[in-house]
Amino acid sequence: MGMGKDIFEITVNGLKLVVIFLMMVQMVPILVWLERRGSAFIQDRLGPNRVGPLGLMQLLADAVKFLTKENFVPDTAKPFLYYAAPVFALIPGAVAFSAIPMSSPIQVGTFEMFGSTWGPYTFLVQGYEIGVGIVFILGVSSLAAYTLLMAGWGSGNKYTLMGALRASAQTISYELALGLSIVGVIMLYGTFNLTEMTLAQQGPLSFTFLGNNVTASWLPNWGIFYQPLAAILFFSAAFAESNRLPFDLAEGESELVGGFHTEYGGFKFNMFFIGEYGHMMIASGLMVLFFFGGYTIPYVSVAELNEWAASVTSTAGKASALVALIHFLAFNVKFAFFMWVFIWVRWTLPRFRYDQLMDLGWKTMLPWALANTIITAFVIYIASL
């Protein structure tokens, strides 16, 4: 699917990309506010509550502060790498996030505009649909390892270099568990396409086992009931990939000052920040897509929802828009829950020691992910005999 056939479709698709990028960037200050308020309540404090209602204007104040910081390069830094690293932190996150389907497509019928007839169109509520969705998202978002090394090496400071090496060794170690944990998921759905995965999870739980149809109408047909171990492994590895506590050895204030971004300040630091939250968003989005039904509503199939929407609206276009809105809200409720889990865990668990971290990745999560792959393959083979 390219950008479209005529100027209207191309314009809408182009604007959509910008809107999704802005949506991702604009979510960051809200998440920062949520993180600060949430951490305050977890620690029995009040958190930011002075600037504006509930402290919400704190975000604007912070943004202005970031923007007006002075912009300089340390003498020992390599200027190109030093400037390129924050940009690289932001782009892969944004590109990968745009590939996540957030709702069902919106149908636009034919209409008259500027004296000619336009349409019909189908607009997807995602930046672009890619047949190899998972591979694309994992591939692009793992470019983050380069950011760490560029920032660490380019800053010309031993703390940043050590922080970058630790962080990249951690990121690549957990990438193995992350990549292997979803082999079972791919086997289950038999596709790389994220929309097809979502649609496979609609309705109540039902599957075929040894030629018998098993139905459990009290459970939604979500991936987590088929792949519980993969869900745990994937989510833990995602924490390590986005450098969040309990895996934030990249920062380790007590040993490494600020880790790979010690020498950064102002807007360049802000871009690292957006990159980190972007990776959290991608991880939450994938968690919802793989294991919690994507944008579908639990128990209700897409066909049933379409039927209901057609009965309350006048045209097919309005019905598809209503369905898309409901799906979008459903996706965002699940998405927000996992974003909250990221914040919740950060303020609940202590940090690992480095050898414990590497042992967990290589000697615990990798074997368990392998076991999950073998068991899934075996069960699928036996079940469909």
């Binding site: 340390p74 020992t76 672009y128 086997m187 020498e263 469909s384």
Partner: protein, 123 residues
């Protein structure tokens, strides 16, 4: 479904946005006043004594090499995983299943050997 020009447009928009951000940071940020201490690498407030090219542990290199080996092995499993059900429905399930189990056995042997040879020990 070809990626076509979409990805290039996205990358272009992202690069353009990044450029705008960089420009904004340069325009809005106050101009730095030169001060030799400010431009030194950060060192907890005391003059730096060590060269910036610090010696680093060879462990990181080893980890990276092992990562590449294992990651390529995992990537081999992806096309297998996606076509596994198709193979079962067309009757080739047993062959595909057993050959992947042999592959995974080699994978496990490699991991076991690495643990045994203390390549994954950090101290």
């Amino acid at each position: 479904m070809p990626l076509g020009g979409v990805i290039f447009i996205v990358i272009f928009i992202a690069l353009f946005g990044a450029f705008l951000v960089w420009l904004a940071a340069n325009i809005t940020g106050t101009k730095p006043v030169y001060n030799p201490v400010k431009y030194e690498p950060y060192e907890c407030g005391i003059p730096g004594i060590e060269k910036k090219e610090t010696k680093i542990s060879v462990k990181y290199y080893l980890t990276a090499i092992l990562f590449i080996l294992f990651d390529i092995e995992i990537i081999f499993m992806y096309p297998w995983a996606i076509s596994f059900r198709e193979f079962i429905s067309t009757g080739g399930g047993a062959f595909v299943f057993i050959s992947m189990m042999v592959f995974i056995a080699i994978f496990i042997f490699g991991l076991f050997w690495e643990v045994k040879s203390k390549a994954l020990e950090w101290d």
